[in-house]
Amino acid sequence: MTQSGQAGLKVLIADDTNTDRLILESIVKKEGHRVVSARDGEEAVAAFQRERPDVVLLDALMPKLDGFGAARQIKALAGEALVPIIFLTSLTDTESLVECLDAGGDDFLSKPYNRFILQAKIKAFNRMREMHATMLAQRDQIARHNDHLMQEQAVAKQVFDNIAHTGCLDASNVKHYLSPLAVFNGDVLVAAIRPAGSMIVLLGDFTGHGLPAAIGAMPLASTFYGMAQKGFTLTDILREINQKLKAILPVGVFCCATIVDINFRKQRLKVWNGGLPDCFLLRCDSGEVEAIRSTHLPLGVLANKDFKDDCKHFELNPGDRLYMWSDGIHEARNSAGEMFGEDRLKATFADNRDPEQLFEQILGRVQGFIGDGERDDDLSLIEVKVELPQGFESRERDACAGEGQGLVEWSLDFEVKQASFRFFDPLPVLLNILVEVPGLRQHSGTLYTILSELYSNALEHGVLGLDSKLKSTPQGFSEYYQLRAKCLEQSGRGFVRFHFSHATADDGGSLTIRVTDSGPGFDHAAKIGGDQPLKGYSGRGIPLIRTLCRSLQYLGNGNQVEVVFCWDNDSWGAPP
């Protein structure tokens, strides 16, 4: 290997004087190098091509082709590789020396030759040659890595675009701007029209840059579109995304986000802002701007039990405009390193005379401000103009009309028979179906409580005929459960039957649950009269169910109970 150490280099010596060449050959060989000899410039070039020596020693004045011409050709042949050329010369005038350098010479050795100086020069140039080779190799490696990275980014962007597509960002009342590679700066913008007709828009900004910032955008977008299309509410979507991000993102990576639901029919706006700059609501009539502050922690920080999904509500009028942005706008820097800042943003709003031009003005001012300054390339901006429901168009809106909107029209009968009572718990199965209903997911805890009370009443008091009075003393309590276990072992024709039916409203719905058991029933009119609270009829959880449901009534001979649970996607907390 000529690369390692000073020994073992291949040295080309070109000199037309036999005496001088002989001396040089001996000096070079004595150092352990191999020698290739040439007697004129033409031979030297041919030998270089053939042997690819590591160092070249060239006499300046030679027949046929002189040292200058040979040096030029050799340097051209060497290309990017560094092949040190040392001129052998007894020329001493400056002009000749300059000519040597111009031709590509790296150094001189004058006659009479000094063995030690020549050896030192070969060593020094070999070190330089090795460094140059290392640098070239590393440069090529960096270039290859960079190519690879760019290719990966292109593929990743393609995948991301397929997942995040543009949703309803094409709607005629929406203007948006995302820098070309904004996804690799962690910005994500998704928008969809829910089956009920409202528009949901989410603008997110993941911490960090590059792939780590972009990767969280994938599950965010797929969750967003999957759920919005099925008609899940803003809160459902928000909670699901938060939980997903919390589970998959490493500590310290999270997503500042603003999510809005614009109900064009009711002319209402719901906003949740977790960590993004204030969004602006520009009023059409007064020209005033309402800033909507962040009041939450970003997505992916809190576990769902601590997560707060309360939103701010605004009444809207046609012509109002909502502006959302990531901090790329505020932090855009000019060549002096100064940031665009909120004051300039506010001034842009104040200076505006025609709201139709405002979006372009904001973008124009920010880009004008950056000028030739360093482009951070993560400007994300969206404007949504409030219209009446038929006042705007979107491909997605047309596409989703009549499409599946999740579980919106259905009923279900489910019967558990005697042999299954001991081993089978119907509640998880039923709950799984119920949370597929748009809007019901957030109420799954309440539904579980209602169902479990109704089921245990039907099974224990209805089918098995156990007396709940037993449970009033500790002794009776354990007797009750012994009895229950015994009864369950018996065979028989008992059953508990569930019937669900569901009706949707514009922004909510009602779920009717009827539970029938195979038991003889009881005198419900006497025991649970009207709105009367429980009268010594312990257990049965009836008062609890009454607080959770709109209505509860026993039917027939008392082996049938029907409750109606209502919810409103626009309201928060317990349903009415």
């Binding site: 037309d16 004087t17 036999n18 005496t19 001088d20 002989l22 001396i23 001996s26 000096i27 004595k30 004045l61 007894s90 020329l91 006659k111 009479p112 030759y113 063995r115």
Partner: protein
């Protein structure tokens, strides 16, 4: 000209060390080169070819200095310088070179 030693013993000692077994080959090569150079110089002068005369003297100067014959190298340098400016009255210098070379060859042969 002062009776200086035509060859530099220190240079030759170094060469001997470097060349080892090839030392005699070096001496032989130098003498045959030099014989050719002398003939060439005379011929070029006869042809009044200043450019070639200059190049030839230059090359000869280089090998003389390498072999350790400083006076001979100096004479060559004077021919080179004159030829460079087109002064071709170098006949006496060529005679001097021939004499000096004779001394050098004798000294080398006696090593």
């Amino acid at each position: 000209m002062a009776a200086q030693n035509p060859v530099d013993s220190e240079t030759l000692a170094t060469l001997k060390e470097v060349m080892e077994g090839d030392f005699q080959l070096l001496i032989d090569t130098f003498t045959s080169d030099a014989d050719q150079r002398l003939t060439d110089l005379r011929e070029l002068l006869a042809r009044r070819d200043a450019g070639q005369l200059r190049a030839c003297a230059h090359s000869f100067k280089g090998s003389c200095s390498n072999i350790g014959a400083p006076q001979l190298a100096q004479l060559c340098a004077r021919v080179e310088d004159k030829a460079a400016v087109g002064e071709l009255d170098v006949e006496p210098l060529l005679d001097a070179i021939e004499r000096e070379y004779g001394a050098v060859r004798e000294a080398l042969a006696g090593l």
